[in-house]
Point group: C2
Chain length 143, copies 2
């Protein structure tokens, strides 16, 4: 079973997306990780570091540094969590929310230009195939 071409294509496609998306995000003055956090926190009342990690697919160790920089930029705050003293409620500042409202729709539109022409059927088929591969990897991981 020669899976290497498929594997190589997975990596190339991921990189192509990263390059395409990253170029636009950088022009907005952000990194990809920073944008992902802002996109996650926008229009919410805030959430814990764990929740942000689940949604952005970042591990907590990475997230600490990303949140530090966004906090230093004045885009978010870490407040004490009332129910759990280990945790923090991480929420956007007005400045952060304003940035979200500016960059999030703009980036979605930018991505739409690339993904839109593919059509819904192609996107759904691809999503399904990817999920099949991911499950195979996760099952094998359990050994």
């Amino acid at each position: 079973m020669n899976f290497l071409p498929t594997l190589r294509e997975l990596v190339k496609t991921f990189q192509a997306f990263d390059t395409y998306s990253g170029r636009h995000i950088r022009s907005l003055g952000l990194t990809t990780s920073q944008f992902d956090v802002i996109a996650t926190l926008g229009n919410t009342q805030g959430m814990s570091c764990r929740e942000i990690g689940e949604k952005t697919l970042m591990v907590k160790g990475t997230l600490t540094g990303v949140l530090d920089r966004l906090e230093k930029k004045g885009l978010l705050t870490r407040q004490e969590h009332p129910e759990d003293k280990r945790s923090f409620l991480i929420a956007m500042t007005p400045k952060g929310q304003a940035l979200f409202e500016k960059v999030f729709p703009a980036h979605l539109q930018y991505l739409e230009a690339a993904f839109g022409p593919l059509g819904e059927e192609t996107l759904l088929a691809l999503e399904k195939q990817l999920k099949t591969l991911r499950r195979a990897l996760e099952v094998s991981s359990q050994d």
Copy 2:
């Protein structure tokens, strides 16, 4: 057109592969990038930095550091290129070649355990779908 689920699945699948593959490579005492270089140079007479970059999908700036560490480990050498004074012929040492012969088949077999069960049809279909998406991203990148 809601492409976000497909996009998220692409990232999750890539990460699942990276986690699965990386765990094994780390147990062999290497990083993913180092393994990719060794897998590329194994059983060859050596090649330029540019060629390695094309095959491993690493940009040259990244490659410099990875090659530095592999050279320091005594796994490869940088010789002067006879035809082009800007370039180097990067080739494995006997120690590097021996490592290649040990880890490359082992890792292929490890990956086979995850990819094999998918079957050839699924892999080919996924490769084709990915290529469609990648071309859409590359076309949009030209603007």
